[in-house]
Symmetry: C2
Subunit: 282 residues, 2 copies
């Protein structure tokens, strides 16, 4: 898919992922690891994995809650905010969010001088349903250095409506923290980028986590994908890795894929029936 | 994605694709070729490519109209109906459909004793916009030998709403005639099958077609994909080929992908905004 080149000014932004294996429950140690891995990175936005400081395999909702922090500013949010100031960049990372009686599988965007943005995972995977409440806030986008950014977490990938919604809202870039155990997401995100002409950074964790009856193995292969479905960078399955890529994020705003086809204008929403019972929403 | 095995009776159906290179304008000859290629096939449903008897590269709307036939029963529809009776199977094939003043890029399903079903391509690719009217009838499914079948054509693949709509309507199997020139569709259809737990047969043409200013090269690689995103069969880029696969189409009705996740029940339509302006449809 090559868009006929439009009248956009070429303006780039550097985006990065940090892929690593957190040690369950060692929050300060995991933060230190992320901090150390970020020290060599010069980027505008850095994406870290889902639940990347706590670990994943909670053995009970009480345990998840014990690690949860308020979006208003718990331990890891404060550390990441400081780190974003030191690096003069935006950071997206996953954490268990406590709000009133509820604990959510959330991610935050923090940046110097910017309002903290929170996304609460809409589609919980398997045992997460025991540990977390499903997201209860709309998908949304925000601007950072002129780039329109949307966030989603891990299993949200399998529902095409997630990226579609963010894309139609105007997202240029999807920041996608993940703790993937299935092997399909990375290839699916290529299609998500292609069908919406958005960039995506998927930051996945690596390693194995055995706790209680759980034994999870995570698939790594963090990646940065372009609006054309090009895999700009893809990591290994099991190593600590970072990658940085320049993206000309404004190319996302041109939804034409040739002189006669435009991914937005060619949609036929009057023929789409997106309700689970097959009834038309319009 | 492995669904926990449910209580379904294992009941299979044979589906097939026929991949070949039509010669532009030689309708009777192309029908004979398809007939000959089908002679060795024992299947319940056979899918042929888009516009597979006329060829693709019309140089004018008048030319497209001159090859168009009525869904009520033109030359190729009659021949395919006879062939379906001889083989005791359903056949899906693409043809230019004339209806009143309009010509559509359509496909038909014909089968012995069954009502002919027509789908008019909703998303026209590039120059097709000069030759055809966009589809003006709803996506729909029908039953054949207990299998719920949906149809779509070629470029419809890039809009995830197409398979989603058919999937939510209850389709077990997507029949997908194509004349693909871009290289992405085959991999995208794997994700479409996975995200909707449907089977799909993509029948693509091969070869090059030079007419007027046009010079198209088609990508072949017809394929049959399972509800788990498994490529059961994929053809070559450039050869005449057929493939047959057994599918247990009822596995499509189980949308659970593990004990706790169900692709339908886990959707959060109240958070999806599928209008082009990002406004909520609900």
């Amino acid at each position: 898919l090559t868009a006929d080149s439009g009248s956009f000014t070429l303006e780039e932004m550097k985006v990065a992922y940090v892929q690593f294996q957190p040690v369950f429950g060692r929050v300060a140690e995991n933060i230190e690891k992320a901090r150390s891995m970020m020290s060599g990175i010069d980027a505008d936005i850095v994406v870290l994995p889902e639940l990347c400081f706590t670990g994943y395999a909670f053995v009970s909702p009480q345990e998840a809650e014990s690690y949860a922090e308020s979006a208003g500013g718990g331990f890891s949010l404060k550390r990441m905010k400081e780190l974003s100031e030191n690096h003069n960049c935006g950071i997206v990372f996953g954490f268990p969010e406590k709000d009133g009686a509820g604990v959510y599988n959330s991610c935050a965007f923090v940046a110097p001088g910017a309002k903290t943005r929170i996304y609460r995972k809409l589609h919980l995977y398997y045992f997460e349903k025991d540990w977390f409440r499903p997201g209860d806030k709309p998908l949304d986008i925000f601007e950072f250095r002129d780039c329109k950014v949307g966030m989603m977490i891990c299993f949200d990938w399998i529902f095409p409506e997630t990226v579609r919604t963010l894309g139609l809202m105007g997202a240029d870039l999807i920041c996608h923290p993940a703790n993937l155990v299935m092997p399909y997401c990375q290839d699916a995100m290529v299609i998500r980028c292609l069908e919406n002409r958005v960039f995506a950074v998927t930051a996945n964790r690596t390693g194995r986590e055995k706790r209680g009856d759980f034994d999870f193995e995570f698939t790594g292969k963090s990646q940065i994908v372009s609006v054309n479905g090009e895999i700009i960078s893809r990591g290994s399955r099991d190593k600590d890795e970072t990658a940085v890529a320049d993206i000309d994020f404004r190319t996302s705003r041109e939804k034409a894929i040739n002189r006669r086809n435009d991914l937005w204008a060619d949609r036929r929403p009057e023929f789409y029936r997106m309700e689970s019972d097959g009834k038309d929403e319009t």
